[in-house]
Subunit: 364 residues, 2 copies
């Protein structure tokens, strides 16, 4: 399969996953004259509303995947837990962007940390944990404190056990049902920031400004841009994201989460994790940049040149979670707020229903 | 039918017409969490790509219209030549916004000019022409010069005969197949400008900045904002558009085309025509304003409050007509240009394939 294929306007990009990210990708594609085809097992998926071409099938359904690939000039995905076999099968039929390697690395916290270490970026100390003995040894190394996380399928604080005191480690692996895990050293991080980086098929790379992220109940609540950072630290954060994208020979948009710590020589950045897709902490780009992360991703996936990542406004992105989306009339009546709703049929606690971009100072 | 109905996120707005305007309306609706349902007789319509709910049927198919209305909380349209019976039938079933009156007025040049006169805005002198005698009398009144136009279904210069000299009037009505017509006095207009105005169901009204429009072969080629105008003239243009929308008790976005003439007391504005829909000369709002004309229209149709019409950038919108859309890679590589393609399957001379918004100075 030609990995350097460039699409033409009117071609179809397949999207694995039908959530809000797929929906926003499909909308961005449409503005560029690209068609989309959504593949998702759940027929009530938000992305289905905005794309005429759709497949409702399991990700493991090879027949459906083969038909899907035949209808698409290239395939991308909105979530990193695409089964390895699904991606591998599709990759024999059409370009899959970002590539299979990005999925392999990001699906396994241990592989991800090993990859990040090899890429030369800084991250918190970590240890592979398969047994209680592994945990005991690692905790000794990390001063008795750490976060135990499953290697796979953790998100929004799920699949994690915090270990701060001696007793916390007892039964910790039981809580994770003895899934393969990693222990991360607890660091006294001050704030969480992230960088959205984009890389095209020619290796050209650009990064958006750093955002500062606040979580509530382990779910992203706000992203503020610009982040309060030394300019040198901000530049270093963007450089680290670009370095990671280059190491993966990445095509598309990637989110890179980092911890900002007080180090002996000032601010220090440790990479937390990467997401090989458009990222919730990049939703602010839709209204504060000329090119959104969604358009940027579709341009890269199409083999086209990237747009400018320049930011024209200061902005705070606020997720609308569960019933919080009931404030939509207030958002509409604020001339500096931009409403984005995902069209989900049912509101549930913890469910991301939409977001607001609140534009602050506009910059020239 | 409740004319003051306010929709909720997740509700469906029906759109009559599946061209690029319907497509851009559907995209804007999706960002607000609204669903759309496209009704169009041509199954190859650009808007079908971006909306899962679609009806391919004739506008005269009452059964199909009834089913369509049942699936929609409100209905709008992307073109003014919706058959009167179609709109009237739908209006018995659900709110149609803008209303039937806006269609009646804008479908008939004579009714439109009579309405504009009654609204108190200035326009060029005109006369109803049904016979050769009508034409002779009117030409005497207008100094022997004028533009003869069919009352219905003229667009992009079609259905028009220019009369500048005595012989031009001979057979003029034959050329229009003796369709009911109007003669417009030829005015020495300097430039064509337009205003995009928006009005919500509570009667709140706002207008975008005036754009200056240039045509090639009777098709809009560029819209430049700001237009070169005296500030007083610009304010007057916006006020006239607001006055027209109020007179129609209009709900939605409307385009108002005007001629800018050198009058005895300085610049003078004469209204040319109105379009009860989003308008090609408002495409610049997508990238130079916080709220695009497409979002503004869908907000009004949903019974929601309008967004800000404030403009943050100077901009030139350029239509990509026929093969001109082949320049898309150059547009993508210009960091200040924003590409919009309509996904049309076939390029034909004179066909609008997309547009570019070229951002000039950014304003705070």
């Amino acid at each position: 399969m030609t990995q350097d294929l460039r699409l033409s306007p009117g071609d179809t990009v397949g999207i694995l996953g039908g959530g809000q990210l797929g929906r926003m990708l499909a909308i961005a594609a449409a503005s560029l004259g690209l068609r989309t085809h959504i593949f998702c097992p759940d027929k009530q998926s938000p992305a289905f509303d905005v794309s005429a071409a759709q497949t409702v099938a399991a990700y493991e359904d090879k027949g459906a995947l083969t038909e899907f690939a035949a209808a698409c000039a290239a395939v991308t995905y909105e979530f990193e837990n695409v089964p390895g076999e699904t991606a591998a099968h599709l990759a024999t039929l059409c370009p899959v962007r970002p590539g299979v390697r990005a999925l392999e690395v990001s699906q396994d916290r241990l592989a991800e940390k090993d990859f990040l270490t090899a890429s030369g970026v800084a991250l918190a100390a970590y240890a592979r944990i398969d047994t209680d003995d592994d945990l005991t040894v690692a905790l000794q190394r990390f001063g008795g404190r750490g976060v135990l996380k499953t290697r796979r399928f953790g998100y929004d604080g799920k699949g994690q056990v915090m270990i701060r005191a001696a007793g916390d480690a007892d039964g910790a692996l039981d809580k994770l049902k003895h899934a393969p895990a990693v222990l991360e050293q607890l660091i006294g991080f001050e704030r969480e920031v992230s960088v959205i980086v984009a890389r095209d098929i020619d290796g050209k790379c650009d990064a958006y400004d750093v955002s500062e992220n606040h979580h509530e109940n382990h779910i992203l609540k706000t992203s503020t841009v610009p982040a309060k950072l030394d300019p040198d630290t901000a530049a270093a954060a963007r450089d680290m994201a670009i370095q990671i994208a280059a190491s993966l020979d990445y095509v598309g948009v990637m989110g890179v989460e980092m911890f900002l710590c007080a180090g002996p020589d000032g601010e220090e950045l440790l990479v937390n994790e990467i997401a090989p897709r458009v990222h919730n902490s990049g939703h602010w780009t839709e209204d504060a940049c000329l090119t959104s992360q969604f358009e940027q991703h579709m341009r890269a996936v199409a083999g086209w040149s990237l747009g400018s990542c320049a930011r024209h406004s200061d902005v705070v992105m606020e997720n609308l979670i569960g019933d919080e989306s009931d404030i939509w009339p207030d958002v509409l009546s604020d001339p500096n707020a931009r409403l984005h709703l995902y069209g989900k049929r049912e509101s549930r606690p913890g469910r991301k229903m939409g977001h607001v971009n609140r534009i602050r100072t506009r910059r020239t």
